[in-house]
Symmetry: C2
Subunit: 333 residues, 2 copies
């Protein structure tokens, strides 16, 4: 059926075959549920018999739905190299795929904000899942002000009336602390995540509080492998006798492991290492990484579900969905 | 500007402000280029002054363009854990992002074929970039028969009149072979990629031909870390004296390195290892992986460009765009 020669079946033909009016056929095609079921069945049969394909542009004029939502990721350079990203996409897809709603992928750059808002205003998108926006990003506030459906991936730094999904970050930090304490390590340090994010802040707070050590040595990384290596080198210079490290991401732990190896320290005998995420990077580490698991795929699926609920009903109340973390034991601690 | 209370500026108002007819304003909004430039400028000014936002559904009825293309990835379980995936997405985005065309992400499952074809027929998508389809997949043929814009990521196993982008796979295999030969290794084995893909076939052929060894020991993997570990264990049992391995993907090389380490062999002293891809997994390896680099991001950007060209002009001739591979020297060989 080459497009150039295919003749489009019209709604009129469907109505004629079904023996109903064009208006009735139109209501059935557009999913109006008040039509009598026997009439709906007749129209559905006529659609099958004629091979009628509803014109989505015409349909969108009626329903005002794009059946497309955006997944907006932070500046591309970081996350696209992070296995975390694949898990988020997979989780969102498990929900959107069966619904036929398009997943439109975007990364945050100078133009993304205008594009997302423009697409939502023009009805090219029905809503947005936003991953890891930082405190300086005005997008969540703009989306809320214009009453667009939106779900964000972590508790906002500045309180906002927005639906979010998160792991219990302080509890995750506490799991790492209690594990290292149980190994009788007592010269413990940490490579924290970025302190302009709640994940970075809360993992550090949870870890420090569970250790009960307000003077815990720490440096700040940005969740990347490189920042983990730089942070580990700093900590080794300042505290050569350290015997345990909690890195607030698996990639930072991976960078830290390389520096510990170069410095001649054995893991876990000399230094125990715990990461955070349980991404595929944890398995690629040598030794395999003991880490705090956040159920990223389940969390991403929940984000998609909460978003579709808002799209269906704009008056859905704002909610927070917080998942418990778990500790995954492997070779590094 | 809450959506519920915002009043939509109509095309009539734009026409009135510009001092032209509604039909002329409509032609300008829809990008008809035969309108006089001074009139076009007046309409553009009126659009800015009034804050007019074209209704995309109405516009799509005229232009028949969705301004959305799909990136279809193979069965999700594999690629979403593979850093390769992030590079593909990034490359496609560098081209689509500035154009405002939506990147709709899909993974291949039982329903994807019908969804993609349905979306293309209904005008919800303008075209498709298909990654790694295997020989049994009828989708490329169906897309060509229905004359939808499509670009595939590697030379099809069964010849098809389809535009594709690929790395010179045999040349990549040959680069690996010549490097291992230059290290005076002579008990060389390889973990090949899946033999139902041209990448799997051609990397093996290029490697074997360059070594000039028709009896080269090889096993078949599926590009995953797990299959690299299984393949390496098989090869060690059959050829305990081996001194070099070419793994046809970085992830398979990573799996092979873990098995070599467990078997007490040192890399590269006892066994030299070369991978393929130069993905971020290559840097995560211990030692860092010597590997054949394919410029995935550039190749993905080229796929997007070739697709948009077809969307603009359905009569664009079928082309093949083949990129040269390079050898990246690191610690493993």
């Amino acid at each position: 059926m080459p497009r150039s020669s295919s003749k489009r079946v019209t709604l009129e033909e469907v109505a004629r075959v079904a023996g109903v009016s064009r208006a009735t056929a139109s209501r059935v095609v557009n999913g109006v549920t008040t039509v009598d079921e026997t009439i709906r069945a007749a129209v559905r049969r006529a659609i099958e018999d004629t091979g009628y394909v509803p014109n989505p542009a015409a349909r969108a004029l009626v329903t005002r739905r794009a059946d497309a939502v955006a997944l907006v990721l932070p500046e591309e350079s970081r996350l696209l190299g992070d296995p975390f990203f694949g898990q988020v996409v997979r989780g969102v897809m498990t929900v959107l795929g069966p619904s036929g709603v398009h997943l439109v992928l975007m990364t945050m750059d100078a133009n993304t904000r205008d594009q997302v808002l423009g697409d939502l205003r023009r009805g090219r998108l029905d809503g947005v899942v936003l991953i890891h926006t930082d405190r300086a990003d005005p997008l969540p506030r703009l989306l809320i002000e214009e009453r667009h459906p939106v779900v964000v991936s972590s508790r906002p730094v500045v309180p906002l009336p927005v639906t979010y999904v998160d792991v219990d970050q302080p509890a995750g930090g506490a799991l790492a602390a209690r594990h290292l304490a149980s190994l009788r390590r007592n010269r413990i340090v940490t490579i924290a995540g970025p302190q302009h994010t709640t994940a970075g802040q809360d993992r550090l707070i949870g870890f420090r509080d569970a250790l009960g050590d307000p003077d815990l040595p720490w440096v700040e990384g940005d969740f990347t492998r490189e920042s983990g290596a730089v942070g580990m080198a700093q900590l080794l210079r300042a505290h050569p006798g350290l015997d345990a490290v909690f890195a607030a991401s698996d990639l930072m732990a991976q960078g830290a492991l390389a520096v510990l190896r170069e410095s001649g320290r054995s893991v876990p005998a000399d230094v125990a290492v715990v990461g955070f995420d349980d991404s595929s990077a944890a398995l690629a580490c040598d030794p395999p990484l003991t880490t705090v698991r956040q159920p990223v795929e389940d969390m991403a699926a929940e984000m998609a579900r909460l978003l579709l609920r808002q799209v269906d009903d704009p008056d859905t109340p704002v909610t927070a969905s917080v998942f418990p973390p778990t500790l995954v034991h492997r070779g590094s601690a």
